[in-house]
C-alpha cells in the first residue's frame, strides 16, 4: 500500500491502462502539453506521445462525438472534460449517441468510452463552474455513472471504467484531488462498477453519501459516536447502476436513514434512493427518510454564501439527530 492523493491515483490508473491497451487514448482540453488543468494527466504526454495524449480545441460537442465515433470502430477513448460543467455542451453526443448506440443498432455497436473530469462544488468559482449534475446522466439507460470518494476507489474504479465496454461517466470531485489515501500497488487492482462500499459500520443510523459528502459524513459519524450514536456510512460509488441492496440491508438493520449529497434536491439521486427505500424497506423505517442536499440555488461566489450552499458536518449531524429523535 502506498499513500497517495486522488490526483495521483487517477494518474496511475490512466498510465497503467495506456500501457496495457494500445487502443486506449486520452483527449481533452489541456490534457497534454499543459499536463491537465488539474494535473491529473501529468507526465502522460511525455510518456505516451501526442498520438495517444491529445490536446483538443475548446470544442466539447465535437471531441465528445469524435470519441464516440472512434469507439464505434474499436478504440477506447478516455475523454476529459476540464470540468463536467462543460460537458453540458456535449450532452447530445453523450446522451443521443453514446448512451443509445448499442440499443438502436440492435446490439451491433457498443461504445467503450469514458467521459471523466472534475464535478461538483469547487472553491469560489460561482454558478457556471460549480455544480453537481450527476442525476442528469444517471437518468439515461446505456450510461454508467461513477463517483469515487477515496484514492483507492478512484484508481480501482477508473481502471474498471476504462476496461468496461459501455460508456462510463466518471465524475471526480474538484475539491478532493489533493485528498490522500492508501492505494494497493498491484497493477491489476480494480474495483468492480456497481458495488457500494461500507465506509464505516454502525448500528443506529445509516448515512448514504458519495463523493465530497463521504469525508463529511465520516466526520459527522465520528462526532456522533461521542454522543453514543453509531452511524453506518455507505458510499454507493456507482450511481448507475445503483447498489440499492446494500443500502436496503443497512436500513433493515438501523431503521433510520440520512441521505447526503451536494447536488440540488429536486429530482436528485437522493430522491431516487429515497423512493426505492419506500418501495423496499418502508416497514423497517422508524423515522421518515431525511435528505441533506445542496441549497436549491445556483452556486454563489461570496465565500460565506458558498459555505451555506454546500452541506456540512453540522447539517448531517442535525439530520441524524432528527431521525434518531434525539432533540
Amino acid at each position: 500500500m502506498a499513500t497517495i492523493t486522488i490526483r495521483e491515483a487517477l494518474n496511475q490508473a490512466l498510465r497503467e491502462e495506456l500501457s496495457r491497451d494500445q487502443n486506449v487514448f486520452l483527449m481533452g482540453e489541456e490534457v497534454a502539453a499543459y499536463d491537465g488543468a488539474y494535473k491529473v494527466t501529468k507526465g502522460l504526454l511525455a510518456e505516451f506521445g501526442d498520438k495517444r495524449v491529445i490536446d483538443t480545441p475548446i470544442t466539447e460537442l465535437g471531441f465528445a462525438g469524435l470519441g464516440v465515433g472512434a469507439a464505434m470502430v474499436g478504440l477506447r477513448p478516455v475523454v476529459e472534460f476540464m470540468t463536467f460543467n462543460f460537458s453540458i455542451l456535449a450532452t447530445d453526443q453523450i446522451i443521443n449517441s453514446a448512451a443509445k448506440m448499442l440499443y438502436m443498432s440492435g446490439g451491433q455497436f457498443n461504445i467503450p468510452i469514458v467521459f471523466r473530469g472534475p464535478s461538483g462544488s469547487a472553491f469560489q468559482v460561482s454558478s457556471q463552474h460549480s455544480q453537481a449534475i450527476e442525476s442528469w446522466y444517471a437518468l439515461f439507460p446505456g450510461l454508467k455513472v461513477v463517483m469515487p470518494s477515496t484514492a483507492a476507489d478512484a484508481k480501482g474504479l477508473l481502471k474498471s471504467a476504462i476496461r468496461d465496454d459501455d460508456p462510463v461517466i466518471f465524475m471526480e470531485q474538484e475539491r478532493m484531488y489533493g485528498a490522500k489515501g492508501e492505494v494497493p500497488e498491484d497493477p491489476d487492482f480494480t474495483i468492480p462498477l456497481g458495488v457500494a462500499d461500507i465506509k464505516r459500520e454502525g448500528t443506529d443510523v445509516t448515512i448514504v453519501a458519495r463523493s465530497l459528502m463521504v469525508p463529511i459524513a465520516l466526520k459527522a459519524a465520528e462526532a456522533l459516536e461521542k454522543d453514543g450514536v453509531s452511524c453506518e456510512v455507505i458510499d454507493p460509488r456507482t450511481i448507475r447502476p445503483l447498489d440499492i441492496d446494500t443500502i436496503i440491508e443497512s436500513v433493515k438493520k438501523t431503521n433510520r436513514i440520512v441521505l447526503a449529497e451536494e447536488s440540488h434536491p429536486v429530482c436528485s439521486v437522493n430522491a431516487e434512493i429515497s423512493a426505492q427505500i419506500m418501495e423496499h424497506a418502508f416497514d423497517y423505517l422508524d423515522a421518515p427518510v431525511k435528505r441533506v442536499s445542496g441549497a436549491d440555488v445556483p452556486m454563489p461566489y461570496a465565500k460565506n454564501l458558498e459555505q451555506l450552499a454546500v452541506p456540512d458536518v453540522q447539517q448531517i449531524i442535525a439530520a441524524v439527530r432528527e431521525v434518531a429523535y434525539l432533540d
Partner: protein, 375 residues
Amino acid sequence: MSKQAAEPRSRAGAEEKSATGVIEAPPDPETLKRDQAAAKERQKDRLSGLDKETLIGLYRQMLLIRRFEEKSAEAYSSGKIGGFCHLYIGQEAVAVGAISAIRKDDYVLTSYREHGHAIAKGMSCDSVMAELFGKVTGCSKGKGGSMHMFDKELNFLGGHGIVGGQIPLATGTAFASKYKGTDQVTLCFFGEAAVNQGAFHESLNMAQLWKLPCIYICENNQYGMGTSLERAMSLRDIAQKACAYEMASEFVDGMDVLAVREAVQRAVERGRKSYFPTLIEVRTYRFMGHSMSDPGNYRTRAEIEKYQERDPIKLFSTTLLEEKIVDEKLLAKMDEEIREEVERSVKFADESPLPPPEDLFTDVYANPITPGRAK
C-alpha cells in the same frame, strides 16, 4: 500549419449553381430543354473509361432505391410503417454515386434520410424493409426504425436522428483509421440544414487540423424541412465554407451520378493517400416531402416539376440509351426484376415476427451489471 490548395471546383457544378431559389412560374420549355441537353452532354463526357457492368450497376442501384422508397411510402400509408419516414426519392444519384467510389471496408454515416445509403452500401432490401416494419429480422432488430439503420459487417454506421449529430461521429471513425494506420476513409452524409449546426463546424475544424480522412458530403436538397436555404443560411455557397478551415472542397451536380462519383473518387484518393478531408456540396432536390406528413405548402408544384425534369434516374437512362449501353428491353427487364425484389422485401417484412417482448431489455449494455453482485 501546412497549407493545402483546394481542388478546383468542377465546371459542371458552376453551371448548376444558378439553379437555386423558389420558382414562382414554370421555366420556359426552351430553357428547360437547354438545361437538360447540357446536363446530358456533361454526363456523356464522363462515361469514357467506365465499363458497361459498372454503369448498369449504378443505374440498377438508383432504380432499386427509387422503387424501394415508393413501396415504403405505400407501406407507410397503409399503416405498416410507423413514426417518421423520410424518403430519398430524387436524391438517389448522391448515395449511389458516392458509395460506388469507396471500398466495402470504408465507413458510411448519414442522417435519418438513410434508406438509400443503406441499400447503396450493400444492405438487403429485406433487412431495411423489415426494420421499417419494426420486425426482429430488421437490420437493427426492430429497435432503430427508419432513422437508425446499422450494419456492422458492411461498416454502415447509421442512421442518426439529430440534425448534424453524425458529423462528429464520422470525424471519429476517420480519426480511428488514422490512429490504427489503415487507409479506410469515411463518407459522412448530411443535409444542408446540418451546416448551420455547431457540430458541422467543430468537426471540420478538427478534421483539417488533425488531417482526418473524412469526406463530408452535404446533400443540399435546398430545404431543411419546410425552411428554404434562403431563409436559413447567410452564406449559401456551402462549399465555400470549407475555406474557413482551409479544407479542400468541391461543388457537384447531385442529379448526375457520374459527377458525384468522380468528385468522391478525387476526395477518396486524397483521404487514402494523405489523410486529408474534403467537403463536397452536392446540389440535389427531394421530390417528396420532408417526411410522410409534409404539407408541401412551402414550395410550388412548378419548382418540383422543374427538378423532376432532371430526375437523376431519367437523366442517366437517357444517356445509357443514347450511348447504346442499354436498350429499352433491358431497362424494362431490370425494372421488373427490381419491382419483384422490392415486393419480396415487403412480403418478407410482413411475414417476419415482431421482436419478442424480452428484447425490450436487451442491448442496453454490452457489459450488464447486476449491482452489488461482485461483492
